[in-house]
């Protein structure tokens, strides 16, 4: 059984879906954010796999960029989560529902 690029794509799609599911299911902002990171990694997997398959360097470069962006997102995200946690002693996003309607 040869492992073709499709396998990687399916795996990435699976990871992405798990990420989405995580965002939907989990209440903790931190875990939700981790799920988003998972989605980004699924994307990276796709990039790299396709890049290898097609022999193109762009995909790998893209993956690098995405990692950097993800890192930046982490810093900001954590800062926001911490700031919310400090005020409410909870990172449960369900409690953040003052703004609605």
């Amino acid at each position: 059984m040869t492992v073709t690029v499709s396998w990687f794509l399916v795996l990435a799609a699976g990871l992405f879906s798990i990420g989405v599911a995580g965002v939907l299911i989990r209440r903790n902002a931190l875990v939700m954010f981790m799920s988003i990171e998972l989605m980004l990694n699924a994307v990276n997997l796709t990039f790299v796999a396709v890049s290898k398959e097609l022999g193109l360097i762009e995909g790998q470069v893209a993956a690098l960029f995405v990692m950097v962006v993800a890192a930046a997102e982490v810093t900001i995200g954590l800062a926001i989560i911490v700031s919310v946690f400090r005020d409410r002693s909870s990172a449960n996003v369900d409690e953040l529902a003052e703004l609605k309607g």
Binding site: V23, M32, D94, L96, A97, K100, G101
Partner: protein, 624 residues
């Protein structure tokens, strides 16, 4: 000579304007004299033209003034023919007398100049009606006389009854005007013009009998409104709320005869439609009868005269229906004299009685006001149809013409005779109750003869009342001859033999005298006879026609309007609009409720919509 005819309209209009704006400054009684002057001047302007027409020195012609509404070919143009000349003479002549009369009668009224302004306006309007050379312009006059009538009936507008009467008159007339208006539409659609001469010259060729019937029936609806025929007569008795000179001028002598005039004017069309003729004759006869039956029981002197007017108009309409146009117009003329006289006399009486109009409180006025007594006596006999007063000649001609039609018209002739009997009876009742017998007036009332401005018109009218009938006796047909110029397109029916005419006249005279005698016997006694019994009560209520209309037309109409206004408009139409509005808001509310504030719900929304979008893309994107 007819170039100056427009002055006949313009002069009273000027008078009206002057009095409207400067009347207060002119003051009493000068304002009245100004008004009188303009009407008299109009009469003077028309006089030579009339004589020229009588002696045949000028032909029947149309004087074009200016184009009114070009797209419908409606011009302002004046037609000077015997019919319009006659009407002009009546309107300006009697109008002048009544203006003269009003100078004294209205003395002291706060809105004295306004009264004369309106009276002048009426004369001008009536002259527009009479002199018009086409239906469109006639309609202007038609409506304007309605306006003046409205203004004058509700002249004493602080009395709710007067205000209501004016409104009623205008609205009921408007119902008739609707008919006139629709007739005008058909006329234009058929002829492409409103011009009398053109229409009459070509009618037999251009329109079918059916069209003619439609036009004439609708015209008759208009005439019924203006000339107070069944079922539209109800406004005229109420119109007596106006000052008495108004009743005399507008609601007896002139305006109410406009309907008859209009039918006579349209004689060619009516001749083409025998069905209409029959209907007109029947309606006229019935109106004459019903009004006479009501008149016998009225106690208000003006109401008696009002119903009598309706009744006499019925005669004229009957004449139109049987094609006796000259007879009808003749009766119109004599009636104008004696009814104006009677109203002015009644006004004189009311004046003397300090405003009291109830005949039961009068009596014995003979000595207090001899001129009024004598002149009204002439009117009484004329209206009753006693030889040789004018009413006798004219009424007799109508009855004779009806009889001459034969067939079931004989029935109408019989009813006509019955009406003649009733007429003589109620006029005798009126005369006796007012002037003869013992005085029944209350203390503090001091009847007196009226001033000269009021009695002179009475005398002049009295003279005409006595003598005017002689211009058209079976022996001397000057009047008929004169009017022929207006009925040149009308085919004349074979007349009766002289013997028959005399025989019919004799019957009529006997009936009239019978009525007088009956009335004399019943009322010329020391105590007024009790007038109760079912007939008298119903009659005094005018057979409840007003209430009937109220129940069947006014109230349901008002209910329907209220339903439309309060339910349909607000609940249904606005309800739909509000429904759309609140539907939109509701939709927004529902969507806003989806906005729970929950991050995860939002993420779910994005995810679901995203998945849907992918599915849709895959579904529609097959063609890639």
């Amino acid at each position: 000579m007819i170039d100056v005819l427009w002055l006949v309209i313009a002069l009273p209009l000027v008078g009206s304007t002057i009095n409207l704006f400067f009347g207060k400054r002119i003051g009493q009684p000068l304002a009245g004299w100004v008004a009188f002057g303009f009407v008299a001047l109009a009469w003077l302007v028309a006089l030579p033209a009339t004589f020229s027409l009588i002696d045949g020195s000028i032909p029947v012609e149309t004087s074009y003034l200016f184009t009114w509404i070009p797209v419908v070919g409606a011009d302002v143009a004046l037609l000077w023919d015997p019919l319009s000349a006659l009407m002009t003479m009546i309107v300006t002549g009697i109008g002048s007398l009544i203006h003269l009369y009003s100078i004294g009668y209205m003395r002291g009224d706060e809105r004295y100049p306004r009264f004369f302004s309106f009276m002048n306006l009426f004369i001008a309007s009536m002259m527009i009606l009479v002199l018009s050379a086409n239906y469109a312009m006639m309609f202007i006059g038609w409506e304007l006389v309605g306006l003046s009538s409205y203004l004058l009936i509700s002249f004493w507008f602080t009395k709710p009854a007067a205000a209501a009467a004016g409104k009623k008159a205008f609205i009921v007339n408007r119902i008739g005007d609707w008919g006139f208006l629709v007739a005008l539409m058909i006329i234009f659609a058929s002829f492409g013009t409103f011009d009398f001469q053109t229409i009459f010259a070509s009618a037999p060729v251009v329109i079918t009998v059916g069209t003619a019937t439609a036009i004439t029936l609708l015209l008759f609806v208009g005439a019924a409104g203006k000339s107070a025929q069944i079922p539209l007569y109800v406004w005229l008795p109420d119109a007596m709320e106006g000052p008495t000179p108004v009743s005399a001028l507008i609601h007896a002598a002139t305006m109410v005869t406009a309907g008859v005039f209009m039918i006579a004017r349209s004689a060619v069309l009516f001749e083409m439609a025998p069905t209409t003729g029959a209907i007109v004759a029947v309606v006229g006869t019935l109106t004459a009868l019903v009004a006479a039956l009501i008149a016998v029981s009225q106690t208000d002197i003006k109401k008696v005269l009002a119903y009598s007017t309706i009744s006499q108009l019925g005669y004229m309409v009957l004449a139109m229906g049987v094609g006796a146009y000259t007879a009808g117009i003749f009766h119109l003329t004599t009636h104008a004299f004696f009814k104006a006289l009677l109203f002015l006399g009644a006004g004189s009486v009311i004046h003397a009685m300090a405003g009291d109009q109830d005949m039961r409180t009068m009596g014995g006025l003979r000595k207090k006001m001899p001129i009024t007594f004598i002149t009204m006596g002439a009117g009484w006999l004329a209206l009753s149809g006693v030889f040789p007063f004018s009413g006798f000649w004219s009424k007799d001609e109508i009855l004779a013409a009806t009889f001459a039609k034969g067939g079931w018209y004989i029935g109408l002739w019989v009813i006509g005779l019955l009406v003649a009997l009733l007429t003589a009876f109620y006029m005798t009742r009126l005369f006796v109750m007012t002037f003869l017998g013992k005085p029944r007036w209350e203390d503090g009332v001091h009847p007196h003869e009226s001033p000269a401005t009021m009695t002179i018109p009475l005398i002049i009218l009295g003279l005409f009342t006595v003598s005017f009938g002689l211009v058209n006796t079976p022996a001397l047909v000057a009047f008929e001859h004169f009017l022929e110029g207006s009925f040149q397109y009308v085919h004349h029916v074979q007349g009766l033999s002289m013997g028959a005419i005399i025989g019919l006249a004799t019957i009529a005279l006997i009936v009239a005298i019978a009525g007088i005698v009956w009335g004399w016997l019943k009322y010329h006694r020391s105590e007024l006879p009790a007038e109760d019994g079912k007939f008298w009560r119903r009659s005094r209520d005018a057979f409840g026609v007003d209430e009937f209309y109220g129940r069947t037309i006014v109230e349901p109409g008002k209910k329907a309007s209220e339903w439309a206004a309060d339910v349909f408009d607000v609940k249904v139409l606005d309800g739909i609009a509000h429904g759309i509005g609140s539907g939109t808001r509701g939709f927004g509310d529902v969507l806003a409720r989806l906005q729970t504030g929950q991050v995860r719900a939002y993420a779910g929304g994005v995810a679901i919509a995203g998945v849907l979008l992918i599915i849709v893309f895959l579904a529609v994107g097959g063609g890639f």
